[in-house]
């Protein structure tokens, strides 16, 4: 019950942050009407947060961190190949650096 309520309060805090971020970005993105989405977004967020806390469907063994691993010093190369100027993307498209379990093309 205590933790359930704290999850609930946590999502309320997230929503408050969301509202304040909408407020601060209103100058950039054309008015405060984005705020109208805050109600439905917080409802969906609350539903999902509580569901996940009860059902734990997102949990699994963190073998990357919880197993005894010994690595030799990492080697490699870094070569500048291009420049991207004037992009509005905040990060590289398809950033998968932190998504260790998503497999990419395997080469022999």
């Amino acid at each position: 019950m205590g933790v359930g309520m704290s999850a609930l309060l946590g999502s309320v805090a997230e929503i408050a942050n969301l509202v304040s971020s909408f407020e601060s970005s209103s100058g950039d993105d054309g008015g405060l009407f984005w705020l109208l989405a805050a109600g439905p977004a917080s409802a969906v967020g609350t539903y999902w947060a509580i569901y996940r806390y009860y059902r734990n469907t997102d949990k699994s063994h963190n073998f990357e961190r919880e197993t005894a691993i010994e690595s030799q010093p990492i080697t490699g190369a870094d070569n500048k190949v291009d420049e991207r100027n004037g992009t509005t993307d905040k990060s590289i498209p398809g950033d998968n650096r932190a998504n260790h379990r998503s497999r990419v093309k395997r080469v022999p």
Partner: protein
């Protein structure tokens, strides 16, 4: 080498032929395939199929005492433990020297033709007792009441290389499950709350492959470093732009992994959260597998167990997936300078050596069968039988959840409308 050294004789006789120094060299010299998997014998030779007695009083009424993690004779209270297997399997060698495939004898290929029943001859009275080894590894002689146990590594996956005994008691598991469910009462399904009976928790030994690996991995991709950030436009039409240098980067890592734990039961390895809750059992890993001991069926007395039905070959793809995930995790720290992120595009894995051991690991399991919209699902609350780590799935009451979500949504929307109203 001395004259009496058996390997020196071979070297002298063969002239320029390779020196035979190890059993592997000898096997190669005799024409055996050097890449064939090597078997490590882990059978507990001290025990027989049938009657295994207390070393002090010769009684056969033996079981595990979880509070000490040792076997206890129910007649004279003598306590003892089987030998740890780690030293016998791993030896003193470094994992960096691990080459080829090494499979412990309890993890070898399952023979689906293997008999599901075994006839044990009771050493107490001479009668023959049939044991269904698909279901159990011990039985009581119906004539003289001696306990008979199966210790031979029958090729049906029922007898593993090692067992990690429970060290968490039933009462401790019960408390952990009550605490876990107690924190999830408010939105739990009404029927779950009514029917919650944590005293029904059962101790289960689940089958796993414990795998040591020596591997190398390469990853190649693109990374971006921000060189400039600027804003154009005025008023409501401001847009932020970024300039970045694009790099092609590659990383190589040599690494060893000690005791990676992977499910060796096909049913448990299926972690589709739409149809089952096996992921919660996976979450309570890892275990202190270094403390696993040689097989003795008496460790299972009073507990249930599931049989292994996956071989090294069927586990291999998942092992490679986990090794690649580990490699990607290991190289992450070397890419900090790419503040706009990295997109890995290709990856490569070389597995130089693996060592496979099948093991029973202890799990306290509370299960609740729940049908929702005609879809049945078993919800587990699992407690690690060594560390006490607990994870579970509690069925939710969707109307309550909807009510809470709508309440929060309405409150937030009211605030949003008030802000809009004030700004107009």
């Amino acid at each position: 080498m001395s004259d009496t050294d058996p390997t020196s004789f071979g070297a002298e006789q063969l002239g320029n032929e390779p020196v035979v120094e190890t059993p592997e060299d000898l096997a190669e010299a005799l024409g055996a395939d050097p890449n064939a998997p090597k078997t490590i014998d882990t059978e507990n030779k001290r025990l027989d199929d049938g009657v295994n007695r207390c070393p002090k009083c010769a009684s056969t009424d033996i079981q595990l005492r979880p509070s000490t993690g040792m076997l206890v004779c129910l007649f004279c209270r003598h306590e003892w433990s089987e030998e740890r297997v780690e030293e016998r399997i791993a030896g003193n060698g470094s994992l960096q020297d691990l080459k080829g495939t090494h499979i412990a004898s309890g993890a070898t290929a399952i023979n689906t033709e293997a008999a599901g029943v075994l006839t044990l001859k009771c050493a107490g009275c001479g009668s023959e007792v049939i044991v269904n080894i698909d279901e159990t590894t011990s039985a009581r002689c119906h004539w003289c009441r001696h306990v008979l146990s199966v210790n031979e590594q029958v090729p049906n996956g029922a007898v593993p290389d090692a067992v990690l005994p429970f060290s968490l008691t039933h009462d401790q598991a019960l408390a952990a499950i009550k605490q876990f469910a107690g924190k999830r009462k408010l939105f739990a399904h009404r029927k779950f709350k009514q029917e919650f009976a944590p005293e029904n928790v059962v101790g289960v030994y689940l089958p796993y492959m414990i795998i040591d690996s020596n591997a190398s991995a390469d990853v190649v991709g693109k990374g971006e470093i921000e060189t400039r950030r600027y804003t154009r436009g005025t008023g409501d039409n401001k847009t932020t732009y970024y300039d970045a240098d694009v790099y092609e980067l590659s990383r190589h890592v040599d690494f060893t992994v000690d005791d990676l734990i992977i499910e060796s039961s096909a049913e448990r390895a299926n972690m589709d959260t739409f149809v089952n809750t096996n992921n919660v059992i996976n979450t309570i890993l890892p275990f202190d597998t270094k403390n696993a001991v040689e097989w003795n069926a008496n460790y299972l007395v009073g507990f249930t167990s599931e049989k292994r039905d996956k071989d090294t070959e069927t586990v291999q793809p998942l092992l490679e997936h986990q090794l690649l995930s580990i490699a990607r995790s290991e190289v992450m720290s070397s890419t900090q300078r790419y503040d706009r992120g990295v997109r890995w595009e290709t990856e490569r894995l070389d597995v130089h050596g693996t060592r496979w051991v099948s093991m029973y690991l202890p799990v306290w399991l509370y299960s609740y069968y729940h049908v929702e919209h005609g879809k049945p699902m078993v919800h587990y609350i699992a407690v690690n039988g060594r560390t006490g780590e607990t994870m579970g799935s509690v069925p939710v009451s969707h109307p309550r959840l909807l009510f809470a979500a709508l309440t929060i949504g309405t409150v937030v929307e009211s605030f949003a409308l008030a802000i809009l109203w004030a700004s107009v």
